[in-house]
């Protein structure tokens, strides 16, 4: 009888652990421990970026079977991860969140294996996972330099990038043909990357503000621009470089 009681106590406590675990998992989100705010920190829109080829009613079709993630990991890309319970409706669905280390290669293997049709195969150019936006205050090309890292990394190249060359740098701008794969995010030499990928819904909301910012910089007088670059932006870039000491392959 003692063994039985012991087992009962063990299993009661296991049950308690399980309940507390479920409670805990609601709190543990997908928080990132970055020291400095991410690029474009003033745009607080935060949507989920699903793998390529996600259909409109992705959330209602995804059963979280994990095939896409497993395939992605086996191919060595490890871009796909799963959301936590914080995202009520879309929890447990695949996302591509860590683009600084694991961007999407647009190999489209995950779309071929998805059993529910939540991801469907589309040509590379028509993928709309999101849109990458350049933080003009951090980008080297917008602050008196010539840096083509992002456009070189981009799988679509000149279809996506527009350059506004001037004496203030080559000034890259990413247009709406962007697939949101995140390769530019990975290869940006600025500490912590000067590019961030937003999902399309967030982009719709912040689009006006972003374009306004873009135009205001382009129409700025030289004195104002000098002030902006040398007293504000370059110290910021240097500071970020110190904080994010990363190795680039």
């Amino acid at each position: 009888m003692r063994r039985r009681n012991f087992l009962k106590i063990v299993f009661y406590s296991l049950g308690l652990i399980a309940f507390s675990g479920i409670g805990l998992s609601f709190r543990a989100g997908r928080g990132k421990n970055t020291v400095l705010p991410s690029p474009l920190g003033e745009f607080t829109e935060d949507g989920l970026i699903h793998p390529p080829g996600a259909v409109d009613d992705f959330v209602s079709k995804c059963i979280s079977c994990g095939v896409c993630g497993d395939v992605c990991r086996q191919l060595g890309y490890s871009a796909i991860r799963f959301t936590g319970l914080k995202n009520s409706q879309s929890s447990g669905v695949p996302i591509v969140d860590d683009m600084r280390d694991h961007p999407c290669t647009l190999c489209m293997e995950c779309t071929k294996v998805c059993p529910t049709g939540a991801l469907i195969e589309v040509p590379k150019e028509k993928v709309r996972m999101g849109i990458a936006l350049i933080d003009f205050s951090l980008c080297l090309g917008w602050n008196g330099d010539v840096c083509l890292s992002c456009s070189k990394a981009c799988p679509l190249g000149m279809k996506v990038f527009e350059f506004y060359n001037s004496e203030w740098g080559n000034q890259p701008y990413i247009n709406e043909n962007c697939t949101g794969c995140g390769y530019c995010v990975k290869f940006c030499p600025v500490g912590g990357s000067a590019i961030r990928v937003f999902d399309l819904n967030s982009y719709k909301r912040l689009k006006d503000r972003y374009i306004q910012w873009f135009k205001s910089i382009l129409t700025m007088s030289d004195d104002e621009r000098y002030d902006l670059v040398y007293t504000q932006n370059l110290p910021k870039i240097l500071e970020r470089g110190k904080e994010f000491e990363r190795e680039y392959q």
Partner: protein, 278 residues
């Protein structure tokens, strides 16, 4: 019983035969497979029936049209885990499975209520609720996937990991206090395959009626609550009421083995292919 689960585990060693989980997977990177219940849930949640879905559920339906609910007894890893818990509790052989026979109707009501409420919830919320959140198989494979991420040093979502682990733990605790109630009454995955039991090629049959001493060890041994006692009694009377196709039967073979142990000459209960008359 472990073989299919083992094939699934091989994917983490780089052998890509079956990739994915028991909820949805892909065979040799060509044939998509999806769980039958998840299929219904996705249809209800997205209110659309797509070709991809049908193509991926088709092989599964064909397999289980032959083998009935053999998924539970031969594929589902939770059958094995639950057996371990049962063994820990009381010694597997001596465990009495309450609720055989007369309780079956009540059980059926509970389980149908659960399955339908889950489907309605999916319809209302527009997300496959059970398959994504509660399903034991999804959670098990999600947990293993995150564990692999930990081992490979990839970023891990601890929220998902903790949730999946604690849900599995909760099921094991539930199994300890209410043996096999999950499989019998709640798990809609098994229920969906149970529907195929009614039309599957495989079925239970009762043979050599004169030899049966009516010890009903088979009924005691059955942990899924199949009304074997009623089945045998009706067969002995010559009625054809129970056809040997029980929605709860998972073809685990416990009844056959127990009967073989009691009877020296082979045993009375068999699993038969095709709809032979007896």
């Amino acid at each position: 019983m472990f073989s299919i689960f083992a094939v699934f585990m091989l994917q983490f060693l780089g052998v890509k035969i079956l990739v994915g989980s028991l909820t949805g997977s892909v065979l040799l990177y060509k044939i998509s497979l999806i769980d039958l219940y998840a299929f219904f849930e996705v249809i209800l949640a997205s209110k659309k029936l797509t070709m991809v879905l049908v193509l991926s559920v088709l092989p599964v339906v064909v397999i289980y049209l032959i083998f009935g609910r053999a998924f539970c007894g031969w594929v589902c890893p939770f059958d094995f885990l639950f057996k371990l818990v049962d063994k820990l509790k009381n010694g597997y052989a001596r465990l009495k499975w309450k609720g055989n026979g007369s309780y079956v109707k009540k059980q059926n009501l509970i389980s149908w209520a659960f399955i339908i409420s889950m489907l309605l919830l999916s319809l209302a919320l527009g997300i496959p609720v059970f398959s994504r959140y509660i399903s034991q198989n999804t959670n098990l494979f999600r947990f293993i996937g995150e564990l692999i991420n930990v081992m490979k040093g990839l970023p891990v979502n601890f929220g998902v990991m903790i949730f999946s682990a604690s849900l599995i733990l909760l099921l094991l605790v539930f199994e300890f206090f209410f043996p096999r109630q999950w499989c019998r009454n709640f798990c809609p995955v098994g229920r969906a395959y149970g529907l195929l039991n009614k039309v599957s090629l495989i079925r239970l049959s009762f043979e050599n009626m004169d030899l049966c001493k009516e010890c009903f060890v088979c009924d005691l041994k059955c942990y899924m609550g199949v009304p074997l006692k009623e089945f045998i009694e009706s067969r002995k009377k010559g009625e054809a009421g129970l056809s040997g196709k029980f929605i709860n039967c998972i073809y685990c073979g416990e009844c056959i083995l127990s009967c073989q142990k009691v009877q020296s000459g082979g045993g009375n209960i068999r699993v038969k292919f095709f709809n032979a008359k007896k």
